[in-house]
């Protein structure tokens, strides 16, 4: 019981030392430290009991299910736009699933690795219908609310420079502050990722009084991030995510996964994914049943999407770019082979 004593004395948790050890650390700790948003409707939000819910949260749960056999063994670390990457590089979290955009400099200079894209987004503009603006080109002289510490402020600066129109940025700290300022009329325009705009608009008292302009001024591929240098861990997170994607493509759902995994079927790729054929799990340091646990815990990509942000949820986002490639979207898992 010396562990108890140390816990009592200092609450110190020793995390991994060398860089290629994240998996071992998570295992020995028995819990995954996962960085999420402090609160973004549909993507990460704690409910009244403090249980985290959301599309990004599902990634954390999926990884925990695969590695620790328990989707609830996640220690959610709420991070702000300002603290998220440092929390990752300093080792406070093992995985960052916080709608972070994959960019060149973040991937290289910030020493991060984006393992996949779980949501293809783009920056859009939300304006009141009364403003009488139909295109972002007409926003000359507008006052625009933006969240600081994100790529949006850089995109905004670039867009208005290129189009040679003037604007005035109103930096705000987080999403709910932004909504408030926009609704109060402190800015003419609210800009953030289009997904965020849709969910914001859905909660307004009169959603029809507001329109999202057709222009999407940036590419915002959002995805889970890990520290640079631990390739085993990056591989693991990447393939946990792709297992969810492949499951949707292959028709594996939360309901039928147990049945499909009980015996090898006709489709060899399903068999390889669900561990009824070959030992793919061992190649990423896991057992054969890893993907079964992932899908049992959070469902396939489409189910997770539908549950938290899809058209059936209060947020009501269409799949759009985030449909499977077979449906004309960009969601595409490399083959399990």
């Amino acid at each position: 019981m010396r562990a108890t004593m140390w816990g009592a004395a200092a609450l110190i948790v020793a995390a991994g030392a060398a860089s290629a050890q994240t998996l071992n650390d998570v295992r020995s700790r028995g819990v995954l430290n996962c960085g999420v948003n402090t609160g973004l409707t549909g993507f990460a939000e704690p409910d009244a009991q403090g249980v985290w819910q959301g599309f990004d949260v599902d990634i954390c749960r999926a990884v925990a299910a695969a590695v620790l056999n328990d989707p609830m063994a996640v220690n959610f670390v709420p991070t702000t736009g300002q603290t998220r990457f440092t929390a990752l590089s300093s080792g406070e979290i093992d995985l960052l699933a916080r709608n972070s955009t994959w960019t060149f400099s973040r991937d290289t200079e910030l020493r991060l690795d984006f393992v996949a894209v779980n949501y293809y987004d783009g920056q859009g503009f939300l304006v009141p219908r009364a403003l009488g603006v139909a295109s972002a080109q007409e926003l000359d002289g507008a006052t625009i609310c933006i969240q600081t510490g994100t790529t949006t402020e850089l995109n905004l600066a670039d867009f208005f420079r290129v189009n040679n129109i003037s604007y005035e940025p109103v930096p705000i700290a987080n999403d709910d502050e932004g909504q408030q300022q926009y609704l109060a009329g402190a800015c003419d325009v609210y800009t953030t990722d289009a997904s965020g705009l849709a969910s914001v608009r859905a909660t307004f008292e009169n959603p029809d009084d507001h329109v999202i302009l057709p222009e999407i001024i940036s590419k915002e591929p959002l995805g889970p991030v890990v520290r640079h240098g631990d390739n085993e861990w990056a591989d693991l997170v990447r393939w946990v995510f792709y297992a969810m994607v492949a499951a949707e493509e292959l028709g594996i759902t939360q309901d039928n996964v147990a049945e499909m995994a009980s015996a090898p079927g006709d489709n060899p790729e399903i068999n390889r994914l669900l561990g009824t054929e070959d030992e793919y799990g061992t190649m990423i340091g896991l057992d054969a049943q890893w993907a079964v646990r992932v899908i049992e815990a959070v469902g396939n990509y489409g189910e997770s999407f539908e549950r938290h942000i899809g058209e059936g949820s209060p947020i009501g986002l269409a799949r759009g770019l985030n449909a499977q490639w077979t449906d004309g979207g960009l969601i595409y898992a490399p083959p399990f082979r």
């Binding site: 019981m1 409910d47 603290t83 300093s90 406070e92």
Partner: protein, 442 residues
Amino acid sequence: MSDTHARTVAFSRDTMLPPVPPPVRETGAVRWLRENLLGGPLNVALTVLSLVAIWWALSGFLPWAWRGIWDASSLTECRARRDELYGPGVPAACWAIIAERWPQLVFGFYPQSGYWRPPVALAVFLVAVMPVLFPSLPRRMLWLLPPAPFVIYWLLWGGSLWGPATVAAGFALGWGVWLLARRGGAGAGLALAAGVAAAALWWWWIAGPLAGTLARGVPLALQPVLSKDMGGFTLSFVIGLSAIVLSLPLGVLLALARRSEMPIISTVAVVYIEIIRGVPLIVWLFTAQLLLNYFLPRGTNFDLMLRVIIMVTLFAAAYLAEVIRGGLAALPKGQFEAADALGLGYWQSMRLVVLPQALKISIPGIVNTFIGLFKDTTLVAFIGMFDPIGLTGSIRATTAWNGIYWEPYVFIAIVFFVVCYAMSRYSIWLERRLEREHRPAT
């Protein structure tokens, strides 16, 4: 004699007139009004201005708050109820969010079955510090102080009682050894070393297994709670109170060091105090969040709450040091000289003569520092911790309450006001009392 007098003078009243009430303008409400509100044109103007200001401040707020809707499960429902009751667009608060989420604002994500624990821990703390704060209580109650932190720790974080208990036993053992060594005639340094060594041996070899055995034999345990589950006002209190208590010894040492005659020691203290006080708390918090891990061996990872408590403790110590230095400076020089004249050594004179008096004078300042610190705990919201203000953000992220704004802030402001106002009243009361005590001495 009145008789004689009465005869020699043409007229003299021989009965007392009954007392006449003072003129209307000199009594009751009228007089009060005249003296306090309407004396002179300037006063009238000020009164009118004040009335306008009060009207301006309350005419918007009170109806809104009064119309408040208490039973609804989402903002949409609140709006529907409001439209039904008062008509659309009428300002009405939606207190339902407080009714539904107040436990979260108070306890964060603390397990519901354990909601009794933080208040009990606070009560234990209050009872333990009572004898320090109210000098009229019996001195014997001071014995409640040493075990309190362990009980509070156990109540808040849960787990087996025997963990904190064996750690506490280590302290007791160390103290006992020190006492024995002193009685046995050992030097101060030697006795201290022996005490520390005994405690360390105890913690290293015995405490863990003993706690384990005891826990198996007598399983006294509470459901363990992770510090990340603490939020809301519980978090504010835990950070604020532990920082102020932990920073007290450090603050005393820093204050003594700053007054020390040894140049290096006092320089170090001055540099530390000035650096900490010169930089805003929010920058220190970002340091705790972003940088502290960089300063520790690779792979060390603390609980964020612990990092914040350490940082706030280091921060508060610098402020407390200045408060205590003020207390030391206020002490008459004669006290120091008298202690020296008695042949007391430095630590003896500090322990027996100087510090008890200096700390007593400093209590109001310490309480004021704590009020400031308690209010400043709201800054942890900016590093992603769920203090009450941070929680409002995540509550509003849920679809049910998305778009609500003022109500949680009003609730938080009222709670802060009540707590801080009570403490500041106490501090003023104590200051007056200390002034009275010191008056006859001069």
